[in-house]
């Protein structure tokens, strides 16, 4: 058994999940903030679009992204104009795809957690001289720790287990875009059942221990916030 064929995909899955989580906590917080605190034109349309990846088959999303990020697509073309390289079949490409795919898993918990914050403490922050931008970091963020934690867990684990979208736009390049779930799929197909077993077990154990740690932390968090 080749250890690289086991470790590389796991490492890429982990990197992908971590990068997607970082990007989505920022982007998700921004979107959730707009949806909770600002007037958003055509709100039902925007909210439905954000939730779409939950109900859409990953292959459909993957197909759209393949077109969008391809050399003829808007995103692919502007990326190529900016950086001179193609977006498809690269690590950056699968990060972007995962960001779209996991968007609702970041926005929904953050939205719920922002909406739970007492409006008056935000008003008080403005009264005390904080701009909306500063108030977001000094009041909204520290009072949404549980929401950020929930968003991070969901996005991280959802990305670790992502399959259909990456199958479409990743191209399974070893060492770059071949993530664990795809390596498992390929191992099963090429009858390398031992590799499939090892990879699946590591992935399952990693996800489980991650959840365990986060749940333990989260419990402490709730105790700390309780009045």
């Amino acid at each position: 058994m080749d250890t690289g064929s086991i470790l590389d995909p796991l490492w890429i899955s982990f990197k992908l999940a971590a990068a997607t989580t970082v990007v989505l906590l920022a982007a998700g917080a921004f979107l959730a903030y707009l949806l909770v605190y600002r007037k958003v034109p055509a709100r039902p349309v925007v909210e439905s679009l954000i939730s779409l990846p939950i109900v859409l088959p990953p292959t459909v999303l993957g197909f759209y992204l393949l077109i969008l990020m391809g050399p003829k697509g808007a995103l692919g073309r502007s990326w190529e104009g900016l950086f001179g390289s193609s977006l498809l079949f690269t690590f950056t490409g699968i990060v972007i795809a995962s960001v779209f795919h996991s968007l609702p898993f970041a926005v929904q918990p953050l939205k719920a957690s922002f909406a739970r914050i007492d409006r008056r403490i935000l008003e008080n922050a403005h009264v005390l001289g904080l701009s909306p931008f500063k108030a977001f970091f000094r009041v909204v963020v520290p009072n949404s720790v549980a929401g950020f934690a929930a968003a991070a867990i969901l996005v991280f684990l959802h990305t670790m287990g992502e399959f259909g979208v990456i199958l479409m736009v990743g191209g399974s390049v070893p060492g770059k875009t071949k993530v664990a779930s795809i390596a498992i799929f390929e191992a099963v197909e090429s009858l390398r059942y031992r590799d499939a077993w090892v990879l699946s077990l590591v992935l399952a154990l990693a996800s489980f221990s991650f959840l365990l740690v986060v749940n333990a932390l989260n419990k402490g968090e709730y105790d700390g916030l309780k009045g």
Binding site: D118, R120, I121, E123, N124, A125, H126, V127, L128, G129, L130, S131, A135, R138, V139, P142, N143, L225, K226, G227
Partner: protein, 246 residues
């Protein structure tokens, strides 16, 4: 420095239409039954709501001028507000709450000692009593060095003894601060005790005749500022108003 406000705003059941002025070092008490638009007046002065029409100035500075389209955002008005039922930050200790917008920490400490909450400095606001929270809110507001102080029913959620103590403390503060303080209450005794000027508001309008009527009733005449040992009188105010209308 004086605060002047002329405000008109259409609300659900009536139109709010008031004109107020409060000089530095004075307390203006807006008194009226619940649902009379008092809180909306404060929110408009704070910039948390916008009037349909109106002019609000603080000294030379124009906060709102609906004709000129001026609207200064809340955070630039340099005011502070003590909210009804408190609006403290649950993620910060009492001391950090008071320091939230404080110019310097020694002022925060001094205020907390003066209001008797220094021993609570490391406690979260969720685990202290209502009176202590309200003191924290007042310290937080004063520590920010505001040019105008707004207080929305600051003592209504407290027990009579705490209420009396805090009223005294605020009355003492007013001379030192030298800023306009606008105070909103449904409790006429509180208005009589704290207010240098009293503006009675009913259904969104200044209604001096109503106050006069209230003062003339035997119950009202008996309400001296220093005899505030009985309970709430909101119901009485309401009844008097009905009699007046009849």
């Amino acid at each position: 420095m004086a605060l002047r406000a002329e405000i008109r705003k259409k609300l659900n059941h009536f139109t709010l239409d008031v004109s107020l002025a409060c000089a530095g070092g004075k307390i203006l008490s807006v008194v009226g039954p619940s649902g009379s638009g008092k809180t909306t007046i404060l929110r408009i002065i704070a910039g948390l709501d916008a009037p349909d029409e109106g002019i609000i100035t603080c000294g030379e500075r124009v906060w709102v001028n609906s004709r000129a389209g001026t609207f200064l955002p809340t955070q630039k008005r340099r005011l502070a507000m003590v909210f009804q039922d408190f609006a403290l930050f649950p993620h910060l200790s009492v001391f950090k709450n008071v320091c939230f917008a404080a110019r310097d920490r020694s002022l925060a400490e001094e205020l907390m000692k003066r209001f008797g909450i220094w021993h609570l400095k490391d406690t979260r606001p969720q685990s202290i009593s209502g009176g202590e929270r309200q003191r924290t809110a007042i310290c937080q507001a004063l520590a920010s060095g505001p040019e105008v102080l707004l207080m929305d029913e600051p003592f209504s959620a407290l027990d009579p003894i705490t209420r009396r103590k805090l009223r005294m403390a605020v009355a003492e503060m007013k001379g030192e601060l030298d800023i306009p303080i606008i105070h909103v209450t449904h409790d006429i005794r509180e208005a009589l005790f704290l207010g240098d000027e009293i503006v009675p508001v009913v259904s969104g309008k200044v209604f001096h005749k109503w106050l006069l009527q209230f003062m003339l009733t035997t119950r009202g005449a008996g309400m001296c500022p220093d005899r505030e040992d009985q309970g709430d009188v909101e119901l009485e105010i309401y009844d008097t108003r009905k009699e007046w209308k009849r």
